[in-house]
């Protein structure tokens, strides 16, 4: 506090006695400028930010290694592209030679044979499904078996729901336990 501040004080008190509004205001403003400046303790800002982050009020801080992840993905993509280009260039000759050797008759025979195999496989699966449904329907006609099946279905549904509830908070890789 300097003598000048004491002068501001005298000026203000005089102005108040004389009801000099504007002079009082001006002197008081100067006087307030001389008041000790209050500051919070060291680290106040850090504490505010830490609490704000804890309450989810701040955006997530970018990871120190985020740049590495970005560069790694880009490099991987570039390497994979380069590999495919080189592979294409290497295999171009043999593929063209193979395509040159093949005839339309060979191709048609191979196609028909493949389709026949597919139909046979599908028929076998269909036959198996029919057989299973027949067995199931026969078993379900027995009340004991039907009841056991319904109870088993209900229990597995409940177990699945419980398991899903348990796992859902951890499903996200960004999930963080705050408390």
């Amino acid at each position: 506090m300097k003598p000048r501040d004491l002068e501001h004080l005298r000026r203000w008190l005089d102005a108040e006695r004389r009801d000099g509004q504007s002079e009082a205001e001006s002197a008081l403003r100067s006087l307030f400028a001389a008041l000790p400046v209050a500051q919070p303790s060291a680290g106040f800002g850090d504490r505010v930010l830490a609490n704000a982050a804890r309450l989810g009020l701040l955006p997530a801080a970018p990871s120190r290694w985020a740049w590495f992840g970005r560069w790694f993905s880009a490099s991987l993509l570039a390497a994979a592209s380069l590999f495919l280009v080189v592979l294409g260039a290497q295999l171009r000759g043999p593929i063209l030679r193979w395509l040159g050797e093949i005839t339309w008759t060979d191709l048609s025979v191979a196609l028909i044979a493949s389709m026949g195999h597919l139909i046979a496989a599908a028929a076998a699966i269909w036959q198996g499904l029919l057989h299973s449904s027949e067995s199931l329907s026969l078993n379900l006609q027995t009340p004991g078996t039907a009841l056991t099946l319904i109870v088993a279905l209900a229990m597995s549904t409940l177990a699945f729901r419980a398991l899903r509830e348990l796992l859902s908070p951890d499903r996200s890789s960004a999930y963080v336990q705050l408390h």
Binding site: L9, R17, R29, A38, P40, L49, A52, P59
Partner: protein, 206 residues
């Protein structure tokens, strides 16, 4: 000086809303002093003032997306600080000492100040304690006057801004500021500064 320190308030808020943590940090760094100072003058307790200032900043962060960039950030923050402190004070009895005593039989400031064993205030001022005495005088006046005085004379806000922050009519703000100044002048006069105000003499003559 960092890039963020050069930004104006509106740009700073924009950066913070875009997800910059540095924006939030600069916002706190820029206003922690004024917000804390206002609250401290109202509650007169450093630890409590820090808690309330922190609460005010957290409220501001959570409502930052609703901040109108046409308004002054400082006024908006002061308003949040004012409301936070007022909520606290409403839950607690304000700790002011009435100048003339009160109905509950407390002697008041006049009795407190009449103590010849205390060093002369003018001598104290010569030792550089005027700042502390001003702070003390400010602490002795009504909390609502005190807040208005700080907003007006320390933070340099206009009457309109103060009215908006405190939600008081403009006329009431002016009246309270006038009374607050008179009350503080009286307290200082009682402490021995100046020649003594007219109100003080009237008080003693009565």
């Amino acid at each position: 000086m960092s890039t963020y320190q050069k930004l104006d308030d509106a740009a700073l808020v924009r950066r913070a809303l875009e997800g910059s943590q540095q924006g939030y940090a600069e916002l706190v760094r820029r206003y922690e002093g004024p917000v804390y100072s206002l609250i401290l003058r109202m509650v007169r307790d450093a630890a409590l003032a820090e808690d309330l200032a922190q609460e005010a900043f957290l409220k501001a962060f959570s409502a930052l997306d609703r901040f109108d960039a046409k308004r002054k950030l400082s006024s908006w923050l002061f308003k949040i600080a004012h409301n936070t402190t007022l909520d606290h004070l409403r839950r607690r009895r304000p700790s002011t000492v009435p100048i003339g005593g009160n109905d509950e039989g407390e002697a008041g400031l006049e009795a407190v100040l009449v103590d010849s064993s205390v060093e002369s205030p003018l001598a104290a001022a010569e030792r550089g304690d005027l700042g502390r005495d001003l702070d003390l005088a400010l602490a002795r006046i009504r909390v609502d006057y005190r807040e208005l005085l700080v907003l007006r004379y320390q933070e340099g806000l206009s009457y309109n801004e103060i009215a908006e922050i405190t939600r008081l009519p403009l006329g009431t703000v002016k009246t309270h500021l006038h009374r607050g100044r008179k009350e503080m002048a009286t307290v200082l006069a009682e402490m021995g500064y100046g020649q003594g105000s007219t109100e003080t003499h009237r008080g003693r003559d009565a």
